[in-house]
Amino acid sequence: MGKITGFMELARVDESYAPPVERKKHYKEFVLTLKDAEAKQQGARCMDCGIPFCHNGCPVNNIIPDWNDLVYKGNFQEALEVLHSTNNFPEFTGRICPAPCESACTLGINNLPVGIKSIEHFIIDKGWENGWVTPQIPAHKTGKKIAVVGSGPAGLATAQQLARAGHSVTVFEKNSRIGGLLRYGIPDFKMEKWLIDRRIEQMQAEGVTFKTGVMVATLPAGSTVGNDSQESITPAELSAQFDAVVLAGGAEQPRDLPVPGRELAGVHFAMQFLPTQNKVNAGDQVAGQIMATGKHVVVIGGGDTGSDCVGTSNRHGAAGVAQFELLPQPPETENKPLVWPYWPIKLRTSSSHEEGCDRDWSITTKRFEGSNGKVEKLIGARVTWNNGKMEEVPNSEFEMKADLVLLAMGFVSPVQSILDAFGVDKDARQNAKATTDNYHTNVAKVFAAGDMRRGQSLVVWAIREGRQCARAVDEFLMGNSNLPR
């Protein structure tokens, strides 16, 4: 399998990016898919390990060595089949997955890992380009009806799997477009949204019905969670109409920063900021879009969402962008002997950072100040960390000019009102309580998957949960299941 000495002879080829000055001008993707020869070369570097750690590191357990070899040999269509056997949506993960597989790559112990993500990206783009991705319409219908609440990656994966098993699946989405965080949370420059539309078409052909603008249960008053719904449906109605209900509504409740001045205008959650730009890109009329144009933007939170806020602010033409993180600056490289093959905590510089941003770590926000109800500055202070305990550095307070503050500090939990409406038990972190063995909540025929069950996580974890949950639902309805976990 593969080229036996490929890893010793060939260099890693990374996908190339359009230059920052260019890409900052638009909201299009700027990552260039590998060319055939590059992809083959990348595949040749795979060592076909006796124990492929990547295969375990990948949450959907992509059979990476197999498709690496197929790509190396130029057998792209078969590679796509193997890839699709574990992953419903490689075009999403091939673009926005942080690639825990590559952190687990054996070659990464003492070399640059195989560019697994770029190969995945290559395979699926090749597949669509050649028309190899077609609807897999089930031969028999079971007559069972399933409601999937939420159309993010978990809901979509569940729906697609269940439809392929012959069930009639209806997906309910409170917003006007399908995709959840994929649609609204991820900026277009990281993943263009026609990719979702293309999948939706495939799923519709496979028999999935999509109902947008329908709220299942109700949001609490004052919720900042995005909601375009015109109509609503109650849990009781759903239960009456469907044989099973899958809750895949994500973990949408953002973590707040309750400091003085939080109420000032100009302090927003990232999820109030990012979705509107995607909507505008899609041609929607958005009243009162939050713009960073000409503003001093401070992003609070050093994760991927924060980074997306940086990229979007720069595209708006912000006067300056700063990003603060409470935790200390991670090392440039991890202590590999003690971390590999697990996900390393290390300094990650995203493409958005390269486009212009001042980053700082070990910063706590003390308060926001402003006038006329509008934020003007952030008062912060430095902290030190000792054995997980944070302490403020005396006399380290500072001021930072800020007329737009974006809170990207993660998500606390699913929106509780939905779980409460169904009467679903919750775990200690307020997620829906269900095991990965059967994904069944305490409520009869109500299942939960994705962030709603496991808390905020990666798209790839959502796909895993969706697939596994689909199998559990299929087993629940039919007594057994051919769906892969």
């Binding site: 036996i4 054996t106 897999q136």
Partner: protein, 984 residues
């Protein structure tokens, strides 16, 4: 197949074929299998009574509605039924099945009666696959597949000691693991099965499930096969003990010395309730009657680790760095590391033998030389690079007297758990110049150890080898490594009676760098079975107290150790786990020399990436020992010895849910022989080796002047009488000499021993450089075994009226495994002369069959007739055969050598292909000097006649020159030539 089906047309109805379909309706389910088998057997009898004499057992007709009975079950059932009916010899069985694809499948079908096998699905698959590989034709793929299967079967048959398919067919040399005895008795009559297990309906259920997977709606299987995961880990496939998480946790734990992470690792390995992977995973401890003791009162970890050894992984299979790391670690904790069968660099032990230990500031490179080490690591004061266990395997690579003298334990590898019946296999790519040097072989030439030890064909022979080795190093324990299989207890008892001090029972799942897949997967049994049988047999025969029992085979945790102890082991061998600690990540690429972490490779670029440290290995063994202590405290045992043999503390785990685990019955494993309390259950005494009777004591006394003052020019001359009761003469004397003098330095002859009489077996075994044995009389088998630089001369008593060159003067298997030295035999030698010679020079006046077999170096001159099969497997060295009758060609095995007339110096210089000269001399001068030496030492009239007529006689010599060796000498010439060109 068409021809066989219609064989009647081709043979004038002499042969008539009848098809017996083994498919039955799917609707009958698993329950239908018994009826289907009964009707199959009945129709076989009917067919024979109707005059058919070829029965074609076929599953061709399987379809969505019909399930095939597994072909093996069907074949065995028909075979057994026909045997019982007395009709088996009236018909041939042809099996046409889609299920046969691997060597093991063919071996099983053959073993249970298939005279011919048609693997139609494999062949059709190849034909289809070949369409995507335009450069290979379909017929070529078929040819290659059949050739590969046949070679695999050859290997399987050879390791079982069976030469022909006819003998193998129906021989049933298998052991069942996990099959119900009632089922086995009926369909696989006579096959041993130790722990019960599944029966016919479970087997059929599996067939039904496979059928379901094939014809069901599983989308993953729509266009592709099941991922399998047998040979490389796949999450949807076969369960493995080593998983990404167990490896990561073990590495992190030992690198950071984190007991907490070790516990996570141990939990992953020990917890097998969901994924059943080993027998011990199905056991639980029966602590009901135990009174726990505080852990502080339990024997210390420091003492427990002394019972641990690392496995026999040769330098060659693993890198210098990986090998030395294990040695340093084991020496730090007082355990033992094992050389494996590749010899050992004297730089790792010679100084230590002389009392010069490693001091401050030294490193691996400072000891072995910078060129030899690419991933250096520092050594601590008092460290030792010496492997305390020196292995002696069938290849005898690097087994010299000095090597043996440096051992604490000498291990005779009868077999290895991962590949019982086979020797080590080192692919050519891993035989670097250094490895070749240590093994006395040719770089780049793969080294495949022969299946048997050529000096062991009986338990008496084994006793002799044990005696030889004990003479070569009286301080070392002699260990015999056996493989778990049914009957190993009896063999172990024989080993104990043959005076071994130590026996290893090796389990089937032991690791191996490179070995045929059929061996890795299908040979040997779990050590739980073999160890229990060994303990029971040894205790019953009151032999247990005389011998240490070690167990190995995927030992990973303290729980494994405790179960091994309860089943009867004193000591424990670990191999894969410490390698993982050193950085192994189970690439399973050991055979390709491409290990990316520098463990199982000789490539310096990759070895540089080796990151293992002795400290990590030390940490690992202490974690294991601490885990053992926790169990001991729970049992209430303060000393480790109290654990040994207490199988009553084991029980079958309750509540195992797996559908195939139901029928298992471990009562035979947990059985304890009812012997009085005074019969020991663990090692308490020493073997009586009878070394005090050795003639060598006399010789050593007489040579004291030399031994006490080796750096002087003193010599000693000794005369003695010898009889055939004097066995292994010379080994002890050589030991005394190499302990004090470097074997490769000093005068040619320092101790001259003139003997007269008939020498016993192993005369001159491991004889060291500087010693000459000149025997007037004759010698027995194994003369010059492992010759290590000494000189052996055997000539007949002048009073003997027999014609010397027409009579045998030395026995069989002379110079086996010789590495250096000279031998002159005035007369004819027996079979297997100079087998596995890797450096000695010998002159003999004729020899029996298989001369120079597997030779990798040295020079042999035969001044008379040779037997058949000369030079079989010969990859190095040269032989000169005097062949005036021009008959030699017919006696030589030509598969690896070429034959040519003797060339003069001028001819050799003028040869088109340039090569470095063998032994640094041109052939004619070399040969002539050897015959002259023969004449000088033995007064041979044959030598004299040839030399007197050299001008004409020289044309009667044939030069036997191995092809691999020719290639290597050419490469050396090119390398030398290029260097000179560059420097000029």
């Amino acid at each position: 197949m068409e021809k066989i089906r219609n064989i009647a047309l081709f043979t004038n109805e002499q042969f008539k074929a009848k098809e017996l379909c083994i498919c039955y309706p799917r609707a009958w389910g698993a329950e239908g299998v018994e009826a289907a088998l009964a009707s199959l057997s009945a129709s076989a009898v009917d067919a024979i009574t109707q005059g058919f004499n070829i029965l074609i057992i076929t599953d061709r007709k399987l379809d969505a509605g019909h399930v095939p009975i597994p072909a093996l079950l069907a074949t065995a059932a028909v075979h057994e039924h026909l045997v019982k009916a007395g009709l088996r010899t009236s018909a041939g069985l042809v099996v046409e099945t889609g299920s046969a694809r691997e060597v093991h499948h063919f071996a099983l079908l053959a073993g249970y009666g298939a005279e011919a096998i048609h693997p139609y699905l494999a062949l059709e698959t190849l034909a289809q696959l070949s369409k995507s590989v335009p450069q290979i034709k379909a017929e070529e793929t078929e040819y290659r597949f059949i050739k590969a299967i046949c070679k695999g079967l050859n290997k399987v048959m050879s390791k079982m000691g069976i030469s022909t398919y006819q003998s193998y067919c129906g021989a049933q040399i298998f052991e069942a693991v996990g099959l119900q005895s009632e089922f086995v008795d009926k369909y696989f009559t006579g096959t041993p099965t130790g722990v019960e297990g599944i029966g016919i309906f479970e087997v059929a259920e599996e067939a039904v499930r496979l059928h379901q997977a094939a014809f069901g709606a599983d989308p993953v299987l729509a266009n592709s096969l099941d991922v399998g995961g047998e040979y490389a880990y796949r999450i949807r496939g076969e369960e493995h003990m080593w998983t990404p998480d167990s490896i990561a946790k073990l590495q992190h734990a030992t690198r950071a010395n984190s007991a907490g992470t070790y516990k996570e690792y141990a939990h992953l390995i020990n917890e097998q309730t969901r994924a059943l992977k080993t027998f011990r995973g199905l056991f639980e401890f029966n602590t009901a009657g135990c009174t726990p003791v505080p852990i502080e009162e339990v024997e210390s970890a420091k003492d427990i680790v002394k019972r641990f050894a690392t496995g026999a992984m040769s330098l060659g299979s693993i890198s210098t760095e990986a090998h030395a790391t294990l040695a340093v670690a084991m020496n730090r904790i007082g355990g033992k590391s094992n050389t494996g069968e590749g010899g050992e660099d004297h730089l790792r032990y010679r100084d230590e033998m002389r009392g010069k230990t490693i001091g401050e500031g030294e490193s691996l490179a400072s000891r072995l030389g910078g060129k030899r080490v690419v991933a250096n690591f520092p050594l601590q004061k008092g460290d030792s690079l010496r492997s305390k266990i020196k292995q002696v395997a069938s290849g005898r690579f690097g087994v010299t007297g000095e090597y043996l003298a440096s051992a604490d334990q000498i291990q005779i590898k009868m077999a290895q758990g991962a590949k019982p019946g086979e020797g080590g296999q080192l692919p050519g790519g891993k035989v670097s110049e250094y490895i070749g040097q240590l093994r006395y072989s040719v770089p780049g030439v793969g080294l495949i150890s022969p299946p048997p030890h050529h000096d062991i064909y009986s338990i008496e022979d084994l006793a002799q080898l044990i005696h030889d080795l004990k003479n070569a190093n009286a301080q070392a324990d002699i260990s015999v490594k056996l493989v778990s299989e049914v009957g190993v207890g009896t063999v172990a008892a024989g080993v104990a009676k043959a005076k071994a001090d130590h026996v290893t029972i090796s389990g089937h799942d032991g690791g191996t760098g490179a070995s045929p897949v059929s061996s890795i997967k299908h040979a040997g049994t779990p050590w739980e079975l073999g160890l229990a049988e060994t303990q029971q047999t040894l205790v019953l025969n009151k032999l247990r107290g005389r011998i240490t029992v070690q167990v190995d085979g995927q030992m990973k945790t303290g729980r494994d150790v405790v179960i091994g102890a309860l089943l009867g082991a004193d000591e424990f061998g670990f191999a894969t786990a410490p390698l993982v600690v050193e950085g192994c990540i189970m690439m399973r690429k050991c055979h390709l020399n491409t290990c990316p972490v520098g463990v199982a490779t000789q490539d310096p670029v990759l070895r540089e990436k080796f990151s293992g440290k002795p400290e990590h290995v030390v940490n690992y063994f202490f974690f294991v020992a601490e885990e053992v202590r926790e169990y001991m405290a729970k049992f209430g045992f303060r000393t480790f010895n109290e654990l040994i043999g207490r199988a009553d503390l084991l029980d079958t785990k309750k509540g195992i849910a797996h559908w195939k685990a139901k029928g298992l019955d471990f009562s035979r494993v947990f059985y304890q022989p009812n012997m009085p309390a005074e019969v020991s259950r663990y090692r308490v005494e020493s073997q009586e080796h009878g070394l005090e009777a050795a003639l060598d004591h006399e010789l050593i006394d007489a040579a004291q002047s030399v031994l006490k003052d080796v750096h002087s020019a003193k010599t000693a001359k000794v005369e003695a009488k010898i009889t055939n009761r004097n066995r292994s003469v010379g080994a002890m004397l050589s030991h005394a000499l190499v302990k004090v003098a470097d074997p490769n330095r000093g005068k040619e002859e320092r101790i001259h021993v003139a003997l007269s009489g008939i020498a016993g077996q192993s005369f001159g075994a491991f004889l060291a450089r500087g010693i000459t044995f000149s025997l007037t009389g004759s010698a027995n088998d194994y003369t010059g075994k492992g010759l290590s630089g000494g000189r052996i001369i055997v000539k007949p008593d002048p009073a003997c009226p027999a014609v010397a060159e027409e009579n045998i003067i030395v026995g069989n298997t002379v110079l086996y495994g010789a590495t250096e030295g000279q031998a002159f035999f005035r007369g004819v030698a027996g079979e297997r002369f100079a087998v596995r010679n890797s450096g000695a020079t010998a002159v003999v006046e004729g020899n029996g069959d298989h001369g120079c077999e597997y030779m990798t170096g040295g020079t042999v001159v035969v001044l008379g007739h040779t037997g058949r099969n000369f030079a079989a497997g010969m990859s190095g060295g040269k032989a000169f055969v005097y062949d005036p009758g021009k008959r030699f060609k017919d006696h030589c095995n030509m598969s690896m050598v070429s034959l040519a007339p003797l060339q003069s110096e001028a001819e050799q210089n003028a040869a088109a292909e340039k090569r470095v000269l063998h032994a640094g001399q041109n052939d004619e001068a070399h040969l002539k000097s050897l015959i002259e030496a023969h004449l000088a030492h033995t007064g041979s009239s044959v030598a004299k006649r040839i030399l007197d007529n050299w001008a004409s006689e020289r044309a009667n010599f044939v030069v036997v020159f191995p092809l691999e060796y020719q290639r290597a000498l050419s490469e050396q010439w090119t390398a030398l030539h290029n260097t000179q060109a560059v420097s000029a």
